[in-house]
Amino acid sequence: MIGFRFPSPPPSPAAEALRAEVRAFLAEALATRSPAARAESWSGFDRDFSRAIGAKGWLGMTWPKRYGGHERSAFERYVVIEEMLAAGAPVAAHWIADRQSGPTLLKFGTEEQKATILPRIAAGELVFCIGMSEPDSGSDLAATRTRATPVDGGWRVTGTKLWTTGAHHADYMILFCRTSGTTSDRQAGTSQLLVDLHATEGVTIRPIIDLAGQHHFNEVHFENAFLPAAALIGAEGGGWDQVMSELAFERSGPERFLSSMQLLLELIAVLREAPGDAARLALGRLTAHLVVLRRLSRGVAALLEAGENPAVHAAIVKDLGATFEQDLPEIARALVDAEPDRASTSDFVAVLAHTMLNAPSFSLRGGTREILRGIIARGLGVR
């Protein structure tokens, strides 16, 4: 068999018990959150909410207790994050730190980094951003030009990061850049550095407004900014491998197929008023896709829990998931006549408008469709 068989998610009674607790918490915490606000999905930002989640013990869930974690299983963590996304909770203030930056530090960071940073992430106190993309380095991440030059006691960084989500809120960035060699060395000579955005001089953050008028991403310019030697994460020159292992976490989670979830819920609410055959067929199809995506994604969680690096599996989930998320507004508009309007008093119409405007990003952020398909093809042995 050359197809990639995903493992069956093992039954986890602990996770199901937790689910009830999370649902009850969210029902209360989000009681007044409007559908349009919920539709922001993992872009909704609220530091207080993230602190509350941290206090519940729902951040850094799988990390060791000595770093503020809770030593729970990947499946328990999965339940928490999927429930948050399905409910449209404002998770952005902890999302990147909990999903990606924390695990990177845990795996590659120094003892000092782990001891000082991880407990604060687990408490919901720290916002992280990811400094990978640049003006001339998008899909081709190895083309990074931002350079950290070794100097006495640390590094001097010069370069520009682009599309940095949440940089304007962030306390820290994990910066991917060149620390030795030249651009023609490609992956070799790249490293990851921990940037304290409050303490570092020479960093300028400029907003970039997206097509929906939202301010989520930014341009972050480093001008001869000094970082202490202790900022290095992992090995000098090991940046590429570290980033690749991070991406399996970034690509397979429920956020890769639940971005349009609020639209699906509002669609069900509208169609229930006057159900016809077209509605039943379309909802049947969407349900089937969603259930299968969720199973695949939980299969990747099982692989991650087993200590594997399921990069190809993760790419498959993200590619199929983005297609589903992007199909949703198209299917919704085929079923219900509505002129999308974000200010509409109809929840369905407002959520449709929001989802339609944001949908193009679903197959770009976190690795484009074409790049993912290239990874899958390599997994098939043809590249």
């Binding site: 197809g3 995903f6 069900i268 067929l281 089937a288 896709h289 093809a377």
Partner: protein
């Protein structure tokens, strides 16, 4: 896998590779029942693989027994093996005698197109009150499926006593076809990857072209989704055959779509050679197009799922999804 299941799977895989060559496949497509192959698989105990030990089976883990049906799909075995396995499991549950020879699953209103009906010796026929074991049947009309394999209309006589079983027979049959599709789709991917690596145009193997790689990745995604969908249905059926409707419906809807896309890509990447009777590809693609619509087609299963979604409503929808 347990030792007994590994031995069984290996033995069957070897047997299929040895006996199921293209000439056997083509003979079946002219209506010749592959009797030697049937006997050999019967000797391996395949018809009893899902029967519990205390009812005459030999203790194969049900998950592994269902994986055999995938294997039959992978080889597009032209025999009603999955049906016979599920028929015997149902008979055992109902406390009826096991099937004698090849068996058919006949859901309510399902007598019109029975795989190899003319060769089946036992018919498990659903009635309003349960299932009946019928051995006396007349062939009413011969027809073939898209692969050229027999699909016969049968008339039944002398219904014996009916006994209740958990779940509906249409679901049992749908599960068989879902598993077969997952297996055959895996083979379609394998054939396609091999073909584009071999076929040279413009001085390079097709697989070196990015456009081809992107299509292969899409094909792999559909195959993976179908496989997970079949696993979902199998897990639910094993857990409780009376409560597997939702999972089976999900599997059937998703796999039906996967078949359409995967077959389309596979044929496109094979070029004209894949459109010939001589090439092996159609042995799998034509059966896939058949299987996905047997025991309830796309509209049947999607409507059922859609009704559940509507009944759950905005509040109940997500809990319904996580319960699957």
């Amino acid at each position: 896998m347990s030792e007994i299941a590994t031995m069984l799977t290996d033995a069957i895989e070897r047997l299929l590779e040895a006996r199921l060559d293209d000439s056997a496949m083509h003979a079946a497509r002219t209506g010749t029942w592959p009797s030697d192959l049937w006997r050999a698989l019967e000797e391996q105990g395949v018809p009893l693989a899902l029967v519990p030990e205390d009812a005459g089976g030999f203790g194969v883990d049900p998950r592994e027994a269902l994986d055999l049906i995938r294997l039959f799909g992978r080889h597009a075995v032209p025999l009603p093996l999955g049906e016979t396995m599920l028929a015997n499991a149902a008979l055992a549950r109902a406390g009826l005698p096991l099937a004698d020879g090849p068996a058919a699953l006949v859901p309510i209103d399902g007598a019109a197109r029975i795989a190899w009906g003319r060769n089946c010796r036992t018919f498990v026929v659903e009635t309003a009150t349960g299932i009946a074991r019928i051995t006396d049947a007349t062939l009413e009309h011969e027809a073939i499926d898209l692969a050229g394999l027999p699909r016969d209309a049968m008339r039944f006589h002398a219904p014996e006593r009916a006994a209740p079983i958990p779940g509906k027979l249409i679901e049992h049959g749908a599960l068989v076809r879902a598993l077969q599709c997952a297996g055959a789709l895996d083979r379609v991917l394998e054939l396609t990857v091999a073909h584009v690596a071999e076929r040279v145009q413009f001085g390079r193997p097709l697989s070196k072209f990015q456009a081809i790689q992107q299509e292969l990745a899409k094909l792999a995604g559909e195959v993976v989704a179908a496989s997970a969908a079949a696993d979902l249905a199998a897990d639910a059926f094993i857990a409780d055959p009376a409560d597997a409707t939702f999972a089976i419906a999900v599997a059937r809807v998703r796999i039906g779509e996967a078949v359409g896309r995967a077959n389309g890509i596979a044929h496109q990447l094979h070029g004209a050679i894949g459109f010939t009777a001589e090439h092996r590809l159609h042995l799998f693609t034509t059966s896939l197009w058949t299987w996905r619509d047997e025991f309830g087609g796309a509209a049947h299963w999607a409507t059922r799922l859609g009704d559940r979604a509507l009944a759950a409503g905005k509040e109940g929808f997500w809990p319904m999804v996580t319960a699957a």
